[in-house]
Symmetry: C2
Subunit: 194 residues, 2 copies
């Protein structure tokens, strides 16, 4: 890459970061409904055309925000500090994984629903396959002996389905604490019965 091309690329990356930060600010202030392409352009101090070129549509913007938070979550469970990241006992990592997913759904729930991310094809998403493998690896490390650790990992991650968790929280008033306790109970029983 020429120095000029490198500078241009780094400008683009900075612009993207500035737009995403502005988008998160808008959501924090007024919820997902407050995030429109117009307001985002205004807040980030760029033209509306720039916002559309960058994200395509409001749904594209939502997906980018989700991808971004998903990537941050992945980095934390793959490389971050324990107990979520490496270094803690596998059962502790499993418990942290569920607790963090539940917190994530509470934080990004509206985004998940708005992006339609959780609807059709939600089992095709690479992120889901990665969680599945991660949970499978931790089950094995925890001494889980069964002919089907991959299927068991899939069953466990299925209980963290965002739409399901949001339904429990919003329609049934279940607290995130109760959800985390239930996850702990489920995972502990599965691992301990080994």
């Amino acid at each position: 890459m020429t120095p000029a091309a490198a500078a241009e690329r780094s400008d683009a990356a900075r612009n993207r970061e500035r737009l995403l930060l502005a988008a998160r600010d808008l959501i924090e202030e007024g919820g997902v409904a407050a995030l429109t392409m117009d307001r985002l352009a205004e807040r980030a101090g760029v033209g509306k055309g720039t916002v559309f070129r960058r994200f395509g549509s409001r749904a594209g913007l939502m997906l980018t925000l989700l991808d971004d938070s998903e990537a941050a979550f992945q980095a934390r469970f793959l490389f971050g500090p324990p107990p979520l990241g490496p270094g803690a006992p596998p059962l502790d990592r499993l418990l942290a994984f569920g607790a963090e997913r539940i917190a994530y759904v509470v934080e990004y729930g509206d985004l998940v629903l708005a992006a339609g991310h959780a609807a059709r094809g939600r089992f095709e998403v690479p992120a889901v396959a990665l969680w599945n493998r991660h949970v499978e690896m931790l089950l094995r490390e925890a001494g889980f002996r069964s002919p089907e650790p991959w299927l068991m990992a899939g069953s466990l991650t299925a209980t963290l389905d965002p739409e399901r968790l949001l339904h429990l929280i919003r329609q049934h008033g279940v607290t995130t604490e109760r959800l985390a306790v239930s996850w702990r109970d489920l995972v502990t029983r599965v691992v301990m019965a080994t």
Copy 2:
């Protein structure tokens, strides 16, 4: 009800049964794609208008077929013979419940997908609430001690989500036997760790 009204109502019920039987025949012969309103009218020997008056649309017909199979499944786990119905030990009933759900998804999977039944609002469906209570009751009977049996029942039934099972079967080539074994492993661990 007058005798005339009663006769009319019973005629309507018979017509409905005849249409549903014809619809199931068509699906059995050529899959869900083979079930069109035209072919259904022809097969059942009624006018197309009758089919539309009865079901509203093809999607309405799919939902009716599903409701009908769901009602039959409910009758079996609530009142049918053991091990699915009353009379068997609770763990056996739980295992039969999962095995039958998996078989149901294999049989009605295309219908589930075609009706969009499993998409949005799938946690609002009364059937899901009923399964949840049923599994909760069996967990309690099996001696499951936990502050959250209802949440645990919800987690277990979430692993039987039709879209999830169909994805495993169709995209990953997982057999129904392996799914049933995995359900057995999960439920046994949850109950035995009590």
